[in-house]
Subunit: 250 residues, 2 copies
């Protein structure tokens, strides 16, 4: 597939594509990124990438595959706090200074670039534009956490589902893994349930309802937007915060 070291493959890497959506990156920026991007690791489904409570864990950038961050409660139930797709940073905060307070587990087989703390800090001082871009990405992640919080607190199951799948669509488009028509989505209904604070059974019903209402179809690992505008309206999805074209900072 892609050769980790080459500048050409880098420009096409999900990470570079995503950051480019915010900041126009120079060849120099891309070169520094290639240093970060050298080491690769693979993770199989069912093997935690990051453990709750462990210190000094690595950070990663997802190169391919999907992952989920979650917490397990004493009752045995699980709440997924975030879903990571190619190009997403993983464990950025734990690099900066702290033990992780959640687990991260692959949803599909994952390939990830290992980011060492020292490399990251060096990259930041050498290329402020890159630093800005990474901080922007971190801020976007936080905004998504807050948006999920609003979902769980004040939106119905149907609204949550629509909002979640729209948001995923916008994120995937940013890294070239989807378009306005839809995208490939490896999340099972159980995973969706744990992400949206619902039961798997109810997820199934909600998806059926959305399908029967001609809004979206989620079948056989594909999400298809049957009526994008109606969905945006139903979910009161804020297009501005994820759904833009071209770099914001040139």
């Amino acid at each position: 597939m892609t050769e980790p070291g080459s500048a050409l493959s880098l420009q096409d890497s999900p990470f570079a594509r995503k950051l480019s959506a915010f900041v126009r990156l120079s060849p120099g920026d891309l070169a520094v990124m290639s240093d970060l991007y050298r080491l690769r690791r693979r993770f199989a489904v069912g093997v935690d990438m990051i453990h709750q409570g462990q210190t000094g864990q690595g950070a990663y950038v997802l190169a391919s595959g999907w992952a989920s961050s979650y917490k397990i409660l004493r009752s045995g139930s699980r709440q997924i706090v975030g879903v990571q797709i190619p190009g997403d940073f993983l464990g950025l905060r734990s690099v900066l200074f702290r033990t992780s307070d959640h687990n991260v587990e692959p949803v599909t087989p994952v390939q990830a670039s290992v980011i060492r703390q020292q490399d990251l800090l060096t990259a930041f001082t050498e290329t402020p534009r890159l630093a800005t871009a990474v901080l922007w990405a971190a801020s976007r992640d936080e905004a998504m956490t807050v948006e999920r919080l609003v979902d769980l607190g004040r939106r119905t199951a149907t609204e949550r589902m629509a909002h979640f799948l729209l948001e995923l669509g916008a994120r995937l488009r940013l890294v070239g893994l989807g378009d306005r028509a839809g995208y490939a989505c490896p999340l099972s209904q159980y995973v969706l349930a744990d992400a949206l604070g619902l039961s798997a059974v109810h997820v199934n019903r909600v998806l059926r309802e959305l399908r029967e209402d001609g809004l979206l179809t989620f079948q056989k690992g594909r999400v298809i937007f049957d009526d994008y505008e109606a969905l945006v309206d139903l979910a009161s999805f804020d297009r501005a915060y994820l759904d833009h074209e071209g770099p914001l900072l040139t």
Copy 2:
């Protein structure tokens, strides 16, 4: 009350107390803090301190009074994303680089120190220990957001309430505004409802239940822990993440 400029009052300020719980601050650190801490502003209840969508907003440190960060939905309902108490940073992220994606409103009359972007950055380069402490506080805030997300997704109304009030208690103790017995709490049941994703009516019922079960009493603006251990157990409250004694880093 306290004189903003003096080193003595600073050591007793909620902000200094909170940061001291994590990092032992030198007289030099405190001196730099006093520069940050100079300008004060007052806000009345009902007047937003920070508006959604505005850029280049100030950041504040709460000196006295409580505030809440929230989002309003099209339906008119509200989700409170966080509650700020004295010593808490407000709008830290927006200083660093972005427009705010939520509103902040006082819950009680508020006095806040204005933090200018430049002052903050200077302070960071001059006193790395202070920077560490502030970043720790930011990380703690993020952990709390995640914890709230888990609350809304996977915990019952009673567990949420217990967890929320325990967390508030631990935070208040850190700034000297409460002890293991309880604390003064100016939040109305409507505010609690919007924070916990419940209806005000149900908040009332949950509080009654907790009272009748001898776990905690919330009446006339005071929270009293009737059985702290049982509450911690009910809420599966993680004492480690907030509930510690003495600085973690000396």
